[in-house]
């Protein structure tokens, strides 16, 4: 057992940390968000140059063969920078779905385009009443010649507005909530029958509503749910790491504030109550960091029960720690923490959205309880 990064990982970490430090200060980020796409095209190219877009792809797909630890390193830094580019949508989740569900040939064809920054993806899955359930799919897929046509409406597809291709879940057979019969399809975002409405999300990222009306689609995999679940679990592990970056920033900002802000003639950090509450924030942060590492290690696990237990445990911890740290960070800042001009609220909002992505803390607690918990009765 060894928590140290190897040399390559250390280099990766240094370069990503440097990138965020140099290029992703709060004011710079504001400028990126003001660009037409809602993020910086130049930054996207920069990611490509630094090899970040190819990180988790196998070499056969033009990538660098990185695993969950490498993704964790990048995600944590991006969490500190509150990165708005569609890295999660395209590389982590989109790329993961391709790796887990598509034929190697498809991956080999699309991978290099992603790596080069030429292809962006989005996962269009959520429906009006599906909430956090990956098996709840009513969008229909019908065979049509060599391909399929899809009909249905998808909600809150992260970065769906700037994506070139959409990865879409649609039902090929079975009832709306059956685990079997769900296909994963790929659709050109600009194809006939694909209507998109893009909008910002609460955390300053982007998403889209997608309406599919006889939209032509290519099937990546039928009975795709297990593969989708694995890709989503890996994506959740990345979200956990991103959340840790955001929490660390909130903790740092709060401590800095407590040390400098004066009330009643002394730094407010000298008040014992605020000291103890900062300590509780730290405890929540360290618990989250530990569980994000656990998630990274378990994300590649092939046994779906063991993997889901770990991922649900981690996501639940992250959600709770994040809410605690976020709310306390605002409270300890007082009014200034509520303002858009100050960064802590932006971390709080991103943290809140991360909780709502792919299942909140309580959703995953229920899931873990359903799977029998973490420590066996026969330990």
């Amino acid at each position: 057992m060894d928590f140290d990064l190897n040399d390559e990982q250390r280099l990766l970490k240094e370069s990503v940390d440097r990138l965020i430090l140099d290029q992703y200060q709060f004011q710079q980020r504001k400028q990126y968000m003001a660009e037409p796409a809602g993020y910086s095209a130049a930054m996207w190219d920069r990611f490509a140059e630094q090899g970040l877009l190819g990180l988790p792809f196998p070499e056969a797909a033009g990538g660098f063969g990185g695993g969950p630890i490498e993704t964790m390193i990048v995600a944590e830094a991006f969490g500190r920078g509150l990165v708005v580019e569609p890295y999660f949508a395209t590389v982590v989740l989109g790329g993961g779905l391709l790796r887990r569900a598509a034929d190697p040939a498809v991956l080999a064809a699309l991978g290099p385009q992603i790596v080069a920054g030429k292809l962006k993806l989005a996962f269009a899955h959520i429906e009006r009443h599906s909430r956090y359930d990956l098996a709840n799919v009513s969008t229909s897929a019908k065979k049509d010649g060599s391909g399929y046509v899809l009909n249905g409406a998808k909600s809150v597809a992260m970065h769906g507005d700037s994506a070139d291709k959409l990865l879409v879940t649609a039902r090929m057979s079975g009832g709306q909530m059956d685990r079997g019969g769900i296909g994963l399809f790929i659709v050109d975002a600009t194809a006939a029958g694909v209507a998109r409405q893009g909008y910002p999300t609460q955390d300053g990222l982007r998403a889209a509503e997608v309406v599919l009306t006889n939209a032509r689609a290519e099937l990546l995999r039928d009975n795709a749910l297990p593969a989708i679940e694995h890709a989503v679990d890996e994506a959740i592990a990345a979200l956990c790491a991103e959340a840790v970056g955001a929490m660390q920033s909130m903790q740092d900002l709060t401590l800095e504030y407590l040390k400098t802000r004066k009330q009643f003639g002394r730094a407010i950090g000298s008040f014992q109550v605020l000291q103890h509450r900062s300590v509780d924030m730290l405890v929540a942060l360290e618990g989250a960091r530990s569980m994000a590492m656990f998630a990274a290690v378990m994300a590649a696990e092939e046994n779906p029960i063991e993997r889901r237990r770990a991922i649900s445990a981690a996501k639940s911890q992250i959600g709770r720690s994040g809410k605690h740290i976020g709310q306390e960070a605002i409270q300890l800042h007082g009014g200034i923490g509520m303002t858009l001009e100050y960064s802590v609220g932006h971390y709080f909002k991103r943290m809140t959205m991360i909780d709502a992505l792919y299942g909140d803390a309580d959703h995953h607690l229920t899931a873990l309880a359903g799977l029998g918990g973490l420590f066996g009765a026969a330990a």
């Binding site: 959520i126 009006r128 009443h129 909430r131 956090y132 359930d133 709840n136 909600s155 809150v156 709306q176 909530m177 409405q197 909008y199 910002p200 999300t201 609460q202 300053g204 998403a207 509503e209 004066k262 009330q263 009643f264 109550v273 605020l274 709310q327 605002i330 409270q331 007082g334 009014g335 923490g337 509520m338 303002t339 858009l340 001009e341 609220g345 932006h346 709080f348 909002k349 809140t352 959205m353 709502a356 909140d360 309580d362 229920t366």
Partner: protein
């Protein structure tokens, strides 16, 4: 001991209930129910209706439009107003500056301001907080120097709610820099149109423009705008803040929110059935309902005790109401977030003034902004940390 309301009290409750639900336009009440922001016109329209029928300023002296209601009646009035999603009258007018003027102002000042304040002919805002003085309000530094029959005001206020609507502002200013902190403060009424006043909005994390900075640059204020005596402003401010704390429990609002959550959770689905049928969701809601019921009962106890208190004295238990009330309000915003699930994510205030269709159910649009915005309720009006300090000292004697 009889915790049931008397027949008279029930009759009173039915009367105000009927009034609130018929007299105030549904369109305004629907906005309150969903947590949408009210326009300035909404606020003024609603307040003028209340004022017309004598339901605006019950806590004021009877001579100035107040009511000789019992504490229970006042409670029922507030509770029914909130349950009916009727906007509370502008707090700066009715709960803050009005009672201060009525208590400490000259007869002339009362005549000049009270009727206009009750009828929202003046839209007041509050100039208390400053950048350097948050919880430590008495450290404020905005100066008012007496020059002849005027004060010349210089300084800056912050967190001034709805200053963009404000026609007048009541300010704490320092009139004596030599005295001990609390003893050099005066309470001044300032016309916002006076030259030298600049208002700069502060956008909050929910995207709202609710608070502002207000800058005073050699603003000349006639001395007759001083409330009460010079350098006694801190006493008036304490009187005012005490009034603020009771209302802040907002039990009626929270009860209305609970009811709304039950309606929405019957619409939203989870695992193929309405969310309201999910035992865990029900328990989370029930846990808050218990806290809310306890708060309501505690508030009633405080209300019943008011009869025994010297008029104008504050029961320190009102700090408990503020503390619990704020936490419950915040928890309910979290529960609304949970009800709407992924539909909390789209940020739709961007659409204001545009014509894009609403993403997801209409009621989801304010879920996240309200959650973000409500973090303020444990910060403003004396943060919950300050409330705990007060309780530790005033009630526990620590």
């Amino acid at each position: 001991m009889d915790l049931n309301f008397t027949e008279e009290e029930i009759a009173f409750r039915d009367e105000v209930r009927a009034f609130f639900r018929s007299a105030i336009p549904d369109s305004i009440r629907a906005k309150v129910a969903e947590g949408e922001g009210l326009t300035r016109d909404d606020m003024i329209q609603s307040q003028r209706i209340l004022n017309k029928y004598g339901y605006c300023t019950p806590n004021w002296p009877v001579a100035w439009g107040g009511k000789d209601w019992t504490p229970v009646q006042v409670y029922l009035y507030q509770d029914e107003m909130q349950l009916a999603n009727v906007p509370s009258p502008i707090a700066f007018n009715v709960s803050m500056v009005g009672p201060v003027i009525a208590q400490f102002g000259s007869e002339e000042m009362k005549k000049r301001f009270l009727p206009a304040t009750a009828n929202a002919d003046i839209f007041w805002c509050q100039g208390f907080s400053e950048p350097g003085s948050g919880s430590d309000l008495a450290s404020l530094r905005t100066r008012a120097e007496r020059k002849g029959d005027k004060y010349v005001v210089n300084g800056q206020k912050i967190w001034t709610t709805l200053a963009q609507y404000g026609e007048w502002i009541f300010c704490l200013v320092r009139t004596n820099t030599e005295a001990k902190q609390q003893e050099g403060i005066s309470f001044l009424l300032i016309d916002m149109k006076t030259p030298g006043i600049t208002v700069r909005p502060i956008i909050t994390i929910d995207g709202g423009r609710e608070v502002n900075e207000v800058f005073f640059d050699n603003v000349e204020v006639p001395v007759e705008n001083l409330v009460g005596q010079e350098n006694k402003g801190w006493d008036y401010a304490k009187f005012l803040l005490g009034n603020e704390r009771t209302g802040i429990a907002r039990v009626g609002n929270s009860k209305a929110k609970v009811a709304r959550i039950k309606e929405l959770a019957a619409i939203e689905q989870s695992g193929g059935r309405p969310l309201i049928q999910d035992p865990k969701f029900r328990e989370k809601l029930a846990a808050i309902e218990i806290e809310l019921k306890a708060l309501e009962m505690t508030q009633l106890r405080v209300v019943a005790d008011e009869r025994k208190l010297e008029k104008g004295r504050q029961n320190p238990a009102s700090s408990i109401l503020k503390l619990k009330g704020s936490v419950i309000q915040q928890q309910l915003t979290e529960l609304v977030m949970e009800v709407v699930g992924p539909y909390a994510m789209p940020y739709q205030r961007e659409f204001d003034g545009r014509n894009e269709p609403v993403v997801g159910p209409e009621y989801a649009t304010e879920a996240a902004p309200m959650y973000f915005n409500y973090r303020k309720v444990s910060i403003y009006g004396g943060s919950n940390e300050i409330q705990r300090n007060i309780i530790a000292k005033a009630i526990l004697g620590l």
